[in-house]
Amino acid sequence: MEKKFTSLDRYFSCKAKYIEPDRYRNLLTLDNTKKYIAQGSGISYVPASFGRSSQVINLRSFDRILYFNKDEKNIVVEGGITIGKLYNFLTQHKLCLPVQPGHPQITIGGCIACNIFGKNQVRHGLFSASVIEIQLYHPLHGVLSLSGDENSEIFELTCGGFGLTGIIISAKLRLSHIEGDVITHNIKVDNLLDTFNALNDLRDKSDLLYTWNDLSTFGRKFGRGFIVSGNFSRSNPALRESHSFKELAPHNTKLFNPRIFNRVTTSLLNNVYFIQNTRLRPNREISFFEFSYPVADKILYFNMYGKKGFIEQQILVQRDACEEYLREFESLVKQHRPLVVLCSCKAFSGKRKLLNFNGDGIVLSIDVPNLQGYKDFFVQLDLLNIKFSAIDNICKDSRITKEVVREQYKEGYDEFKERLHGFDPKRLFVSELSERLGL
């Protein structure tokens, strides 16, 4: 069966062959001469779960809990289980995954393949820190057990390997206690530099820490925003067991979907959002679900970019280069004046390995409509990132080229590619992303 696929940012679409096995005998008997790519919910920002030359293997039927130990706080689940399904089960036991993505529809296989980061990367690191063991299927190798002790090189390659090492059949995950709802305080900031400094001050003190900045207004107000600093209300774990949410469906494009974001609407919406969060409700209590999945009820946001979608850049700037980077970033934005609809920052801590999005510094994320006129801005931004040894999140940017990734990730890129080709000389697992990056 052939099906049309679109990345969440709508930057890329293509048709690909598609199967949806529902039994292990269909999943574990793949022909080792064809190209494949595994797909969970298929809602990655980038075309990581499909490709023109690959057969998409959807894993939605492999979504079961295989083992659970409440006392030891670990669980074994199939790769296709969604974070939302897992959330509904774990909250009954007052447990959760330490690192969670922004939307409950994302699968465990997707979290591992992109090695995602959560709400507090400084405290919990990347998703791989919660992965104890993986069962991986590859037509050339059969089913392999991967962990820190067994096939550790493949384990490392699979966590953040964009699904290129094979199909994640199941994973054993470490869990942590839920401490309750979250009380947030919004702290007003005047510009991006203040934001970066405040993030560095608060990074070890908050359970939840991110910022919202307005880059749609130039002049005095450029970069103003607020820092959302939250802590668990340890006395009040008012957990609801299950939640509903709207599903993301990037592959079902609407016939009529005009772009709502323009200079006027964005500026207006940002002003309203700023006032709402700094004056009307600067302090509030949010549920653990809302804390975990901030994107769950923001489906409309993605549609407001219209048919052509948007480009997201998530840039990790090294801590010691922040000030200088910001100065040049601001002048670049002011010079090219792209319509930055969303800008958000997070503190980061860790050591980069292979193609993982990790390091010590601040992550700056921007969402910009996908317009032809902004091409030059992104080229200049790539050069700026290379100049300051900043890295772009490969799982968020559908546009980034092989050359730029190579320059940014340097030996990480070469080592990843070398190890991947060593493990899979036939390179059976291929996606649009891997082809674009020459992997």
Partner: protein
């Protein structure tokens, strides 16, 4: 309630297992592959906190006595028997099927069901509130030149259920038989149809709601009754021109 589901690992059987577990039924699940049934058992037990057991069984060749013993030694006497398992080779029939494949279709869709009903009949008739549910197919509504062996088995099963209903008329056993239309499952994955495919969960909910009732034959989803009424009304001189197969090819 204690329910035995034959063909529980995928499609309608899997959805039915989920629905029954969510309603608190104790389950014994049967499917052909342990790799599929074991994850079902663990998942449903953990999520619904109910007793779930299972075993792998090749319906092409099995001993009903061994199945009976396994079920009895785990959940005991059953209240509901669901016969969901099915197999078909959609694109091939008659001479295109090997003798082994024909046997496979007959054994899985027809013979195994009769064997299982016969062995569990004593359990099902000895007290009140028990159900025996058979799953047929809209393909059995009117014979045609495709999928005929499968449809014949389903028609045979329907006939068997009618007999069963007659046999158990003076007992408390309730018999339900459904002709199910296209489902959104792996079996029909590549099938293109103007008629929408029903969600297995939707059908499973209907099967659950039907428990406790006597249903000789009902179409699921209901609109198939209208479609099949019209289909059966097509006169032979027109019908014979539909989907003509060249026997020489």
């Amino acid at each position: 309630m204690k329910s035995l589901i034959i063909g529980a690992s995928a499609g309608l059987g899997r959805a039915l297992s989920e629905v029954l577990a969510s309603k608190g039924h104790e389950l014994f699940l049967v499917a052909s592959d342990a790799r599929d049934i074991n994850p079902m058992v663990s998942d449903l037990s953990y999520r619904y906190k109910t007793r779930v057991y299972g075993c792998d069984l090749d319906l092409r060749d099995f001993s009903p006595n061994i199945l009976y013993e396994k079920v009895h030694s785990s959940i005991g006497e059953i209240d509901n028997l669901f016969l969901v398992a099915g197999i078909s080779f959609l694109e091939r029939d008659f001479a295109q099927l090997s003798v082994e494949e024909i046997e496979q279709i007959i054994n899985v869709n027809f013979l195994s069901c009769i064997k299982i009903v016969s062995i569990f009949l004593k359990d099902l008739t000895n007290s009140a509130n028990k159900n025996c549910v058979g799953i047929g197919s809209v393909a059995a509504s009117r014979a045609r030149n495709r999928n005929t062996t499968y449809a014949a088995c389903k028609k045979g099963l329907e006939f068997f259920f009618s007999g069963l209903k007659h046999l158990t008329a003076n007992t408390n056993l309730k018999i339900q038989f459904y002709r199910v239309g296209f489902l959104d499952t792996q079996l029909n994955f590549e099938q293109k149809s103007l008629i929408p495919k029903a969600s297995p969960t939707f059908i499973a909910e209907k099967l659950y709601k039907g428990l406790g009732k006597d249903i000789e034959m009902r179409y699921l989803p209901w609109w198939w009754a209208g479609i099949m009424f019209i289909y059966k009304m097509i006169p032979w001189f027109l019908y014979k021109r539909i989907g003509v197969v060249d026997l020489r090819s």
